[in-house]
């Protein structure tokens, strides 16, 4: 079993990297991109029996910094 964790900067926290990507897209001629937010995807290969709640605990303790980041867990 696997879990996929998406970690994003919270709304309202400045994302200068996403902003730089947005500028680059505009400079390349891709019009109409109003905003870019950059996050990360972490895939976990899990033993049977590891629950979504366990993965959420991993997010709270290490995978995300909840001061600045939000996360979502997808069991796949």
């Amino acid at each position: 079993m696997k879990a996929r964790v998406h970690v994003m900067l919270k709304t309202g926290v400045l994302d200068p990297q996403g902003e730089a990507v947005r500028h680059a897209l505009g400079a390349m001629g891709f019009d109409g991109v109003k905003g870019v937010r950059q996050g990360k995807v972490i895939e976990l290969d899990l033993d049977a029996g590891v629950t979504e709640a366990d993965v959420e605990a991993m997010c709270e303790k290490l995978l995300a910094n909840t001061v600045i980041e939000s996360y979502s867990v997808e069991m796949i």
Partner: protein, 222 residues
């Protein structure tokens, strides 16, 4: 005063910090990240700058969960002194010993230069050697030094006089120009600039010396 300097894989300011403590009269023990206890009688723990664990995941995140960091947290909870510089500040926010987080610099660039810092409070054993409002010159060297905390936390830090240093000319987008903060008991300091790199005439200045001397003086007499 007995200082412990933590060494993580990727720390690169550990020896500079040790030299600055020693020059101020402290006995220094270097402590490896896998150690599970601090040496007996340690007064202050220094968490140095560098790139602990290659800055993987987030700066300071993996170091904050290393065995020795549990001991550092216990030391702080007992009222012990802790000082985190640069990557050390990032580690201390990741452990929760200090509020907030350090984001990527607003201009996206790694910045390495000497900056003007205002001593925002002299009411701590770290900053008592300076006059409040004095401007000192201390180098910064970071990519993720943009201090962020929610508005309530910033207001609380300011109301409790827990902002230790502010930038004269904000280089990284930090909220309220914050360069360094204190814990509620004023015994944990985190700062992005490097006072240990301005602690000997050969560094080009000695504005960092007063911090180490003030600490040694306070902890010898404590």
């Amino acid at each position: 005063m007995h200082a412990a300097v933590i060494v993580f894989p990727g720390s690169n300011c550990d020896r500079d910090l040790a030299v600055a403590f020693e020059a101020a009269g402290a006995k220094v023990s270097m402590v490896w990240h896998k150690d599970t206890e601090l040496p007996a009688g340690v007064d202050i723990v220094g968490v140095p700058g560098g790139f602990s664990y290659g800055d993987y995941l987030r700066c300071g995140a993996i170091a904050a969960n290393s065995p020795i960091c549990r001991e550092v947290a216990t030391h702080a909870e007992r009222g012990g002194y802790v000082m985190g510089i640069c990557n050390g500040f990032q580690v201390l926010t990741e452990t929760g010993l200090l509020p907030g987080a350090l984001l990527r610099n607003a201009g996206l660039k790694y910045i390495c230069k000497t900056v003007g810092l205002k001593v925002a409070t002299s009411d701590s054993d770290f900053t008592s050697g300076y006059n409040a409002g004095a401007v000192i010159n201390i180098p910064i060297a970071h990519h993720d030094g943009n201090y962020y905390a929610d508005a309530d936390t910033i207001a609380e830090l300011q109301a409790e006089d827990r902002v230790a240093f502010t930038y004269e000319d904000n280089p990284n987008g930090a909220q309220a120009d914050i360069a360094g903060i204190l814990s509620a008991n004023r015994r944990v300091l985190g700062m992005m600039p490097h006072p240990e790199r301005m602690a000997d005439p050969v560094h080009g200045g000695t504005d960092g010396v007063a911090l180490f001397r003030a600490l040694t003086g306070a902890l010898v007499t404590a």
